[in-house]
């Protein structure tokens, strides 16, 4: 490695390259680490640094990336490379203009951003999104540590609004690649369109009903045991294996009707369509727990977020089953797990107080369920996190007001 060392030392001395010192310095620091020592007390410091901190987030994302590669093919690698190159260029340009080192935070933005996109996204859209996200989501606010919104989400929000067709129509089915890859609706879309057009968990299926959605086996049982129910020519949707088994195997439904199932197991192992990184949810959960165990992300936000979606989903589904999907389905479908473990936990854009983290997680949960159920959009994770990002400074201020009473003069 000596030639590399000599080369780097030479590069530092070339006057023409003086402007590109951040780039050379970044390469140098990655390869050789630092030779700086502590100036004063504390003389001995912890071994962790931001590079390790960030690289471990990437390690936590690797299972999801690998799953995305297996489900959607080589294209995902190209997408990630485009994201890194386009967004990295913005980061480098700003580092050169501002004359500071290249900050490592971009390593995460550049990887998270492609993972929240649909697998069929055109490469130019990826480039536009990541450039916009990095520039207007982060650098315009003053760079790392000063941004209000999660840059990856700003990028995704931008292309959701700018090129809506791409973001909502083509959802490639995992494990089906090739020129005529099948596209289909995501589970959340299925629930929303079916639930609004049909009867959810009815006790009697009346004549003339075309679609029925059962969210649990008891509902199926009730409908079957009521002999007034008419199942002729009804499309039956079932959430979860037990309801499906009961409906498909029953002699009054199974043989004559199309019975479709959204399976929780399929959601977990990535058989349902969705964004690239979110479909194989076991990997997302494993990565999220890995980060929590390493104390790199705080457990308070994901736990309160997911529990709120469960609780609010359960209550909502009890009263408004046609609008609000059942709790477990809400948690497993869409980008909720990915958002809760990897995006809501971004320490810069979420509150830094402990109580604030709970407030943030709970609010995100409530907003997600509300947006999913009552808005024109199918998915609410991105919007809820971005909205709460804007509120986190306020949440912190309020918490601090309670925690530290103003001093009396």
């Amino acid at each position: 490695m000596k030639p590399v060392r000599l080369l780097l030392d030479k590069l530092y001395e070339i006057p023409a390259l003086a402007r590109f010192k951040p780039v050379i310095g970044a390469a140098d620091a990655i390869l050789y680490g630092t030779n700086e020592t502590t100036h004063a007390a504390p003389h001995v410091v912890d071994n962790i640094d931001i590079k390790r901190y960030m690289i471990l987030v990437i390690v936590a994302l690797l299972p999801a990336v690998a799953a995305a590669y297996l489900s959607f093919g080589w294209r995902i690698i190209a997408i990630i490379m485009v994201s890194y190159i386009a967004g990295g260029a913005v980061e480098v340009i700003f580092a050169i203009i501002r004359k500071h080192d290249i900050h490592e935070g971009f390593l995460i933005t550049g990887l998270i951003f492609p993972l929240v996109l649909p697998p069929t996204v055109p490469l130019w859209v990826v480039a536009v999104g990541v450039v916009f996200g990095t520039m207007f989501g982060k650098e315009m606010f003053g760079g790392t540590g000063r941004n209000i919104f999660n840059p990856a989400l700003v990028g995704r929000l931008f292309i959701t609004l700018a090129v809506p067709g791409i973001m909502t129509m083509y959802w490639q089915t995992p494990f089906a690649s090739g020129p005529d890859a099948i596209t289909s609706a995501t589970p959340l879309t299925t629930y929303k369109s079916t639930a609004q057009a049909a009867v959810v968990n009815p006790a009697i299926v009346k004549e003339g009903t075309t679609q029925v959605l059962f969210t649990n086996p008891y509902a199926v049982k009730r409908a079957i045991h009521n002999y007034d129910s008419q199942f002729d020519g009804v499309e039956v949707y079932c959430l979860g294996g037990p309801a499906y088994k009961m409906a498909a195997n029953h002699r009054r439904i199974g043989p004559d009707n199309a019975v479709r199932m959204v399976s929780y197991a399929d959601l977990l192992i990535g058989k349902e369509p969705g964004s690239m990184g979110e479909t194989f949810r076991l990997a997302v959960i494993a990565g999220g727990i890995f980060l929590i165990v390493l104390r790199i992300s705080n457990w308070r936000i994901p736990v309160s977020y997911i529990l709120t979606v469960l609780a609010f989903g359960a209550i909502g589904h009890f009263f408004l089953p046609a609008k609000i999907a059942p709790p477990l389905f809400q948690v497993l479908a869409g980008g909720l797990l990915f958002g809760a473990f990897f995006m809501a936990t971004d320490p810069i854009t979420s509150p830094f107080t402990k109580a604030g983290k709970y407030v943030f997680g709970i609010s995100c949960g409530v907003l997600t369920v509300l947006i999913r159920s009552f808005s024109g959009y199918v998915e609410g994770v991105m919007f809820s996190i971005v909205i709460m990002n804007a509120f986190s400074p306020l949440i912190d201020q309020i918490v601090l007001r309670f925690k530290y009473r103003p001093v009396k003069a």
Partner: protein, 481 residues
């Protein structure tokens, strides 16, 4: 007595560092010259009583002032005053006296001492404690009628003696209390009880040294006014603020000293010095110093004369081939010895030699790090911590970066502050009541926040700067009336 051992939130256990001191006591002999500053610890500088060329005896008082808060300073060797000059000392400048020694070990006994100290009156004891310099111990001193402390004797409600061993590198309480020193320690406390009759006494030791706690408890079996207890050795358990809170369940307001709430905090050696002064008539001319860190080949506890230059203490014991940084008392808060000629002073209990590591390490940020200490569980050292010792060295291990609100400093702060929040205020030069509101004066400057920061921000220094700026703006910590 069974008491809770975990008494504060936050804090950090420095486990299993390399080259910690061994349970052994040696003497490094009499150095050829000693340099004694006329300011020792928290004391004011005392006027000099000798002149250039004077012959002095070990134990002779060379500086004394009964009007300001101070204790007498003694010559620590027999010899001749050869130099008097100003010396940098703990951030200040202090007059110092250099004595060239004749190599003899004898020292001058204090008048009025008595091996049967029980027959001495409280007044006589007080005088002996003051004249020996033992009254200058700790952060606030032991009160005598000679103005040796900022607190009056009758206002002392509690005396806390600590040896929790919470520092990364520090002396072992078991070594300081070995053999007959345990009974000397016990007598030292009894002498203090005679001086400060109204006070309750607490001895706080490392909760994991059960044998030592049993021995010390045994030594005070008949003294119900002494309470011996263990505390988890989590840094900064040896700090006054933490001890007062842990032992008395009393919290000190920001910026107060333990003395402000009627508490004196001493360490084990301070108590033994009291015994030596009263029963043996020995002034404070010696100190036991733990020699720690890989820079030393041997790691004993060394008996050294006060004023001994570091080069004499380290002679023949420094590992060759690398640069070492020598630190006084603590790797987290201690001052560095700028030169090898700087002396050991009366408050020194450890000298730490850590590797001045300006070497680069390839791909340091992805190494498993079985011997690298970290608060975050991202290194293998969390798994192998019991088997492999951890390195203590001065490399920064990363570049300084903007704060990313990771919350490490928040979680680790033993005072329950938000160091990163204070840092952001000080960095933006917002120096006003908001800093008071966020309790900046509660900071006990243990520097743990700066230790754990992955962005390598010197948080402790910023907070200290904030305090200094606040004081210069007239916003002092609120003192009790």
């Amino acid at each position: 007595m069974k008491a809770k051992t975990r008494a504060f939130c936050g804090g950090y256990r420095f486990r299993n560092f390399e080259a910690t001191p061994e349970d052994r006591l040696t003497s490094v002999g009499i150095p050829s010259t000693v340099t004694i500053t006329l300011m020792q610890g928290f004391s004011n500088e005392v006027p000099c009583l000798v002149q250039l060329g004077d012959t002095v005896k070990a134990g002779q008082i060379i500086g004394r002032d009964d009007e300001t808060v101070s204790s007498p300073v003694h010559a620590s060797v027999n010899g001749k005053v050869v130099k008097m000059k100003k010396l940098a000392y703990l951030g200040n400048e202090a007059a110092s006296i250099t004595i060239s020694s004749d190599g003899t070990e004898a020292w001058q006994k204090l008048e009025g001492c008595n091996a049967r100290w029980e027959i001495l009156t409280a007044d006589q004891i007080e005088k002996l404690v003051y004249l020996s310099g033992a009254s200058g111990a700790g952060r606030a001193g032991i009160p005598t009628r000679f103005k040796s402390s900022i607190i009056d004797g009758d206002k002392v409600e509690h005396v806390i003696v600590h040896g929790v061993e919470s520092e990364m590198y520090g002396p072992l309480s078991a070594t300081l209390l070995k053999g007959q020193r345990l009974s000397q320690f016990a007598d030292g406390l009894r002498i203090l009880k005679k001086m400060l009759g109204g006070a309750a006494f607490h001895v706080v030791l490392n909760a994991e040294r059960t044998e030592l706690i049993a021995d010390v408890s045994g030594a005070f079996a008949d003294n119900e006014w002494v309470c011996v207890r263990g505390l988890e050795p989590r840094y900064p358990a040896d700090y006054d603020e933490v001890l007062v809170h842990a032992v008395l369940n009393k919290s000190m307001r920001g910026g107060h000293l333990a003395a402000n709430v009627g508490v004196i905090v001493l360490d084990i050696q301070d108590v033994i010095q009291v015994y030596e002064a009263v029963a043996e008539g020995k002034p404070v001319i010696e100190r036991t110093v733990a020699m720690c860190g890989r820079g030393f080949t041997d790691h004993p506890h060394a008996r050294v004369r006060i004023g001994t230059p570091l080069e004499h203490l380290a002679a023949g014991n420094v590992r060759q081939g690398k640069n070492w940084r020598f630190l006084r008392n603590s790797a987290l808060t201690g001052e560095r010895f700028a030169e090898m000629t700087q002396p050991i002073d009366r408050n020194c209990d450890a000298v730490i030699a850590v590797h001045e590591n300006d070497g680069r390490e390839m791909f340091a940020f992805v190494r498993p790090g079985a011997r690298k200490d970290s608060y975050s569980p991202t290194f293998l050292s969390k798994v192998f911590g019991k088997v492999l010792t951890k390195r203590g060295e001065t490399n920064l291990h990363g570049e300084e970066r903007p704060c990313i609100f990771c919350g490490f400093c928040d979680e680790i702060c033993p005072a329950g502050l938000m160091p990163h929040h204070l840092f952001h205020h000080v960095e933006r030069n917002i120096i006003d009541e908001t800093l008071l509101r966020f309790k900046i004066y509660d900071c006990n400057e243990c520097n743990l926040c700066a230790y754990v920061c992955p962005s390598k921000i010197p948080l402790g220094r910023y907070i200290k700067e904030g305090k200094n700026k606040l004081i210069s703006e007239g916003l002092h910590p609120v003192r009790p009336h």
